[in-house]
């Protein structure tokens, strides 16, 4: 394989895994914007997405197009329940306590997953069967296109949601000034619940599309959460499209590091980027100094 096609290969791999980081990062931003809480259980939504889909298709033998929405609904419900039972009761506690609760929740979710599915990784068949495609000498699996396509669709949907729909605009309003939003008749509690549900749903989608490529096991959550978080901070915490760009950047750099330098260091890439950003531009690529001063975090 020529260097060019190697790099192309890494690029595609990077974009693929980067998509997942993007979606996790988006989920982070949505919850952060509504509550200034960092949901460190975000990765578990991805994990549940993959594993529940496996259960529905492999055990209950449901077809893909039924399993997909059912899984997303199930994980969305998990997100909503999480908000109701763990976040809402502690709404007056300090931000630190809330972040710690999300950590505890991540442990709990992992425990549940381990109990149900054990420690083995599970796989899903690719959405469209078939041989990989050759592009410029690089070998691209068909599922990759599903991942990229889904990510694009999500980005478009989210942009429309937050920009055009009443609910979406209401959520944006809440993030800047919950008091004013409340006075305008926006039900802040519902917005917070929606933000968790929405983030969970996004995570589920990510989990479903990536499992055919990289499998899924009970312990995948924390790493995804950390990297998705790095993506969000890189792009600018709270800025939706920032997380998307951030995710792709991290995914590509990770892939290039693994391929060209040393695979052991690939997990460090996201973290080094994080520390770098915190030192030089903590508000991220698209974040602004003013906004990051106003927001609590």
């Amino acid at each position: 394989m020529t260097l060019f096609s190697q790099i192309l290969q890494f690029l595609f791999t990077g974009l693929t895994i980067g998509s997942i980081y993007s979606m996790v990062g988006l989920g982070f931003n949505i919850i952060y914007n509504a509550t200034t809480v960092l949901n460190l259980a975000q990765g578990e939504f991805v994990m549940f997405g993959g594993l529940i889909m496996v259960f529905l298709t492999a055990v209950l033998k449901l077809p893909l197009f039924i399993g997909f929405p059912l899984t997303v609904i199930a994980v969305t419900a998990i997100g909503a329940l999480f908000e109701r039972f763990a976040i809402h009761p502690l709404r007056n506690a300090s931000l630190l306590t809330l972040i710690i609760v999300t950590i505890a929740a991540s442990i709990l979710f992992r425990g549940i997953a381990m109990f149900i599915w054990g420690k083995d990784p599970y796989s899903l068949p690719p959405f469209t069967p078939g041989a990989p495609v050759m592009i410029g000498g690089a070998v691209i699996m068909l599922q990759t296109f599903w991942v990229l396509g889904t990510t694009l669709a999500i980005v478009v949907l989210m942009t429309l949601f937050f920009g055009k729909t009443i609910v979406g605009k209401a959520m944006s309003a809440c993030s800047f000034n919950p008091m004013a939003a409340s006075l305008m008749g926006i039900h802040v509690r519902k917005m917070i619940l929606t933000s968790f549900a929405l983030s969970a749903g996004l995570g589920a989608v990510a989990g479903i599309v990536i499992t055919p490529i990289s499998l899924m096991d009970y312990d995948r959550g924390p790493m995804l959460a950390v990297k998705g978080f790095c993506a969000a901070v890189l792009g600018g915490l709270g800025v939706g499209y920032g997380a998307v760009l951030g995710g792709f950047i991290i995914g590509i750099l990770e892939s290039l590091t693994a391929g060209l330098v040393h695979s052991g260091f690939k997990d460090a890439v996201a973290l080094v980027i994080l520390l770098f950003i915190l030192c030089f531009k903590p508000s991220g690529i698209f974040g602004s100094e003013e906004v990051s001063k106003v927001k609590k975090f």
Binding site: L96, V101, A268, L278
Partner: protein
């Protein structure tokens, strides 16, 4: 320091002093040694969280730095135990400053985020530097502690060593809390803006407390290395960092005694959970959530509330 604290300290010291005479077997002694080692780390974390109001999501990294310095330097480079220990302290302090100085100037919880990144990077370094650290297979043959010809290898001796150090550090910590510095720290926790207006250099304090907490962890790490004489990276990873955090939180973030209680509980709990092979993480998660939701001020406060309630009846 306050009569209450002196009394509790006294009782604790007596209990610890006679403990080895009341138990049979090295197993319980080992548990207590682990509790002591965790207690040291957790004391430092308690100062950071309860007073400076910051969380560290990567504190196991400092444990690891202490442990690997105390392990690698004597084993691979022939350093003396004491020099290696000091190197661990020094390296931990430098790393702590490297993270804290840029992040603590920012408003908000950027330190938490930076420690998460730092912890993971250190873990990866431990794993990848095969020639030095032994990588995933770990490092063995770490010498046990000896000075003046007296060797600290056996269970009972190590028990007294660890707890002597723990008690000394506890006294130091309590002294700090009840001093001008402790007041400044509590002020920072109470109202940063007022503390700053009254002349407290808030950023500097936060940095100092973070470095101090890193030093405590380094001490604990060194003690761990010389006890088990074998160390490997997973012991210093994210899971342990979270565990340490939980010890402080469930004990009741603001009190150092609470942190010790938390250390005790969360050191013993995994041992009991070992029996439930498939359920262990689940039960662990349930217990943590339950404590956070029903006793948000920690077990120590929760217990005192229960005790008061019983007294009323």
């Amino acid at each position: 320091m306050g009569k209450e604290n002196i009394r509790t300290l006294f009782i604790l010291t007596i209990c610890l002093g006679i403990f080895p005479f009341f138990i049979r077997g090295d197993y319980y002694l080992s548990i207590m040694i682990f509790i002591g080692i965790n207690a040291i780390t957790v004391m430092g974390l308690s100062l950071l969280m309860g007073y400076a109001g910051q969380i560290s999501l990567g504190h196991a990294a400092f444990l690891g730095i202490g442990a690997y310095c105390s392990g690698v330097l004597p084993v691979k480079f022939g350093f003396s135990i004491f020099t290696a220990f000091l190197c661990g302290l020094f390296l931990s302090a430098i790393m702590a400053m490297a993270i804290a100085i840029p992040t603590l100037k920012l408003k908000g919880h950027y330190l938490a985020v930076a420690t998460l990144g730092f912890g993971e990077i250190i873990y990866i370094i431990f794993n990848e530097l095969l020639e030095i650290t032994g990588g995933p297979s770990g490092l063995s043959g770490i010498p046990s502690i000896h000075f003046f010809g007296y060797s600290f290898k056996g269970g009972v001796r190590y028990f007294y060593l660890v707890w002597a150090i723990a008690i000394l550090l506890l006294i130091f910590s309590l002294n700090v809390i009840h001093s001008r510095i402790g007041r400044a720290l509590r002020a920072v926790h109470g109202s940063e803006i007022a503390a700053e207006a009254m002349g407290v250099n808030v950023s500097q304090f936060k940095i100092q407390v973070f470095v101090l907490s890193a030093l405590y962890a380094s001490v604990a790490g060194s003690l761990y290395a010389h006890f088990i004489t074998f160390i490997s990276p997973p012991t210093f990873g994210l899971f342990v960092s979270i565990l340490l955090l939980m010890m402080v939180v469930i004990g009741g973030g603001v009190s150092i005694w609470g942190a010790l209680l938390g250390a005790g509980i969360l050191t013993i709990l995994p041992e009991y959970l070992r029996a439930f092979k498939d359920f262990d993480i689940l039960i662990y998660g349930i217990i943590l959530m339950a404590i956070l939701l029903f006793m948000p001020e920690g077990i120590l406060k929760g217990l005192t509330v229960i005790v008061k309630w019983i007294k009323k009846k």
